[in-house]
Symmetry: C2
Subunit: 209 residues, 2 copies
Amino acid sequence: MKTQQTAEGVARPAGRPRSEKADRSIIEATLELLGEGIGVSELSIESIAGRAGVGKTTIYRRWSNKEDLVVDALATLKPPIPLPQGGTVRDDLVTYLRVIQEESRHHRTRCIMNIAMSDSERHPRLAERFRELTMEPRRAVVAAVLRRGMETGELRADLDVDMALALLSGAMIWYTKWSHSGDPQADIPERIVDEALKGFRPRTSTPEP
Amino acid sequence: MKTQQTAEGVARPAGRPRSEKADRSIIEATLELLGEGIGVSELSIESIAGRAGVGKTTIYRRWSNKEDLVVDALATLKPPIPLPQGGTVRDDLVTYLRVIQEESRHHRTRCIMNIAMSDSERHPRLAERFRELTMEPRRAVVAAVLRRGMETGELRADLDVDMALALLSGAMIWYTKWSHSGDPQADIPERIVDEALKGFRPRTSTPEP
DNA sequence: AGATTATGAAACGAACCCGTTGCGTATCGG
DNA sequence: CCGATACGCAACGGGTTCGTTTCATAATCT
């Protein structure tokens, strides 16, 4: 096996190197198709090859099965890193939910989300990948905001962070999924946060600063 | 066109009548397959016919396309009508979420839910049918509970019922979807309700009766 | 009996998609 | 130049599903 050291010291096998352009166009074609609503099971290697302007051989040489390809494709999705980190906890939460709401307007985002939610049973690796790449970073960001609020006293000191996260994110998902007839509803993030902060019970005195 | 009046006064065309047994087995086979995780797009008429022990002709004679069949199949799903209507609002809400949680343990329910959430883009008629058959009745039940609480003073008089519903249901869905590694988490309904009732902000005095 | 319609089974041609192979060409190292 | 590998393309045999048609049989009404 003949190899050679490049200037950066990376071993390279003999022969024509693989085209990075082909790599990118395959991944991009995959994401495009998924973003158009094609489910993982309906996604065909042939359609990817056609969309990418690439021979099927080129795909099979890189990935042995469809799921591996989709996993790698999802891995290239960079989360827009919604880092509010500014004013009050209330404002940071609203900002965060606004990002989620804005994302949900993009057809592509909704389709990817659908894949993550529905194919989690049949494609656990996909679900896991999506979790660690998209869900977990955001969860951490919001959790940090909540914990800051618990320290400053803006939130209850005994708040259940996980549960608060579920209430906020769940409500946002609920509205993006079942908002009837696609009405804009621009103020949903504010309303979610305010309702969650206040709680459902009446309060006699308002301890807000 | 020769017809005849039956005892109930229903007009009947000449010739061999359609088999109601075939009707039922086709619908049931459809629901079985969907309940096993087969998506609407992967669902094939041939597989339904095979499962139902029926010729494809018999299916095509009744439904002109797959979506119509699935719509009719979903229409036969009776919601278990979770009607708490008993003690405090808090207990009724917990009872309701417990029903949702219990349902989400059944594989069939999860699959149907996935179809309703994911195929809503490509099959709006399916989503609409599911909405009016499953979501709406439950929404009405919980809304009634919440309104009762607003009258009795157990809940804030200015509570946003829709938003409260989104927070509760959204959080429950969130946990059923992303509960890591399938841990039981039997107390989730209580925790959701209590956290939602209390709200995130600290309170100085507790106005509960 | 005779007319009429439904049923299940089988087969049809067409369309996809699978994963693989062969082909001529392109791009690398030596 | 030569060996090696990758490329796009076309074709392969094999599979599934489509929607339709044909056929012998079954059920119902006149």
